[in-house]
Amino acid sequence: MIALTQVKKSFDTNHVLRGVDLRVETGTSTVIIGGSGTGKSVLLKCILGLVTPDAGTITLDDQDVLRADRDTFLARFGMLFQGAALFDSLKVWENVAFRLLRGSLKRPKAEAREIAIEKLRRVGLKPDVADKFPAELSGGMQKRVGLARAIAAEPEIIFFDEPTTGLDPIMAGVINELIREIVTEMGATAMTITHDMSSVRAIADRVAMLHDGVIQWEGPVAQLDTSDDPYVSQFIHGRADGPIEAVR
């Protein structure tokens, strides 16, 4: 279980997270929604220790993440970054197999390459992209390579930062299904950030809405539509008027 208690983070005078409380049970899929720039990406980076919170505690299975051994801690995670963050000096397959080519999960090159190609297939990419460089791919293809890299070592906990942005509707559907599969079949814990409401419904067990630096609403996905929270209903219906100021 991942538990955040009163997590705060500011960048100078920009108070991004102002006391986030959130629990994510093992083996469930939580989707985080919220306006652009509300700090969703920062939240995931806080959990991974890429951004150090100013206050509050984050625990994984009741152990403070700041005190955990970094290598064992990170070996349990996979992360898809919003901008894919592929290493542009490495070929696509070397990106996907990065973890499998070095460190504790190292295995023979041919085997790592095979796994990479299989993961690429799962995100809808043909084997011939394996030997290309990331710069030769379209944005949506890069995103899917990033996704393949995040799941390559079959981690227990996976974070997806906007997995379907930049994808066509069919491919978005494939990716939604894949994420769902990873949670239900492999028992992984997933946290996904998305702006795409059809993704939310396809992926989520629970939904958390971040607004003004706090979790404004949290609940099972089935209650999303019936929620009488004015923030949630404005957000999911995409209305310009409501408590969330659209024009600042």
Partner: protein
């Protein structure tokens, strides 16, 4: 500005410079401590050897060649004022090996290698590639900094040696072709005059400058701000810092080696 405000501004500047020196020193010590701890990334190291060393050869060679040639012309013209034209081989040799070889190679490496390391790592930083590296259980210090710093530490002395030889050859070519020196005598004078320690000091300087150049590229790259502007600033800062630190280190090392 009131005197108090002036003092305060001065104090802030001094403090920020001291803090910067402290940060660079800590970064350097951290990098050195990672050199001796596994894992070691051989492929990245090989790649760094290639880009820092082999691909720098043309620019190092040309710089040294022209400098050696110009040095011969200057010493000849200057020496003629007191009938000392004959010292050209000796002064070219000592000037190239002790000072100009290491310094010019160091500065060329700062221009060529520091800038490209800083721009590459800063771009990785702003496109979240460094974050991705961390989440893939790979230490950026080990994967990015150590291979580059170690490669520069090993390969820049070699470049300096090559630069020294080519610089002396530049002087030799000018002296024998246009100034009427006898080729055999020129080479003999050069060889007789240079002491082993001249060459050792040249190589030590090369190692120090290589270390500084690669370290500054990594340090500024890792501290890059956001966006294209951040990358630009990191690159500019890294080259400035590397050049100044190389010249300062050269002054200190020359003092240590030759002012006995």
């Amino acid at each position: 500005m009131s005197p108090a405000a002036l003092l305060a501004a001065l104090g802030r500047t001094v403090l920020s410079i001291l803090a910067g020196i402290g940060r660079v020193t800590l970064y350097a010590l951290d990098a050195l401590s990672h050199i001796v701890r596994p894992p070691f990334y051989g492929r990245e190291f090989g790649h760094a050897l290639l880009t820092v060393g082999w691909l720098s050869l043309p620019v190092v060679g040309l710089t040294a060649l022209f400098t050696g040639g110009a040095l011969a012309l200057q010493i000849y013209a200057g020496g003629a004022r007191f009938n000392a034209e004959a010292v050209v081989p000796q002064i070219v040799a000592i000037g190239m090996v002790r000072e100009l070889g290491p310094v010019l190679v160091g500065l060329m490496i700062a221009a060529r290698v520091t800038s490209s390391i800083a721009a590459e790592i800063a771009t990785m930083k702003v496109t979240e590639q460094i974050d991705a590296l961390v989440t893939l259980s790979t230490h950026p210090m080990k994967y990015l900094t150590v291979p580059r710093v170690l490669a520069a530490l090993i390969v820049v002395p070699m470049l300096v040696a090559v630069g020294d030889v080519i610089g002396i050859f530049g002087g030799y070519a000018v002296a024998t072709q246009t100034l009427g020196f006898n080729p055999a005598t020129y080479l003999k004078n050069t060889a007789d005059f240079l002491e082993p320690f001249d060459i050792i000091s040249s190589l030590i300087k090369g190692a120090a400058f290589g270390f500084i150049a690669a370290l500054m590229g990594c340090y500024f790259g890792m501290r890059s701000g956001r966006g294209a502007q951040g990358v630009g600033r990191a690159t500019k800062g890294s080259v400035q810092a590397a050049a100044i630190l190389i010249l300062a280190a050269n002054f200190v090392l020359t003092g240590v080696f030759f002012s006995a």
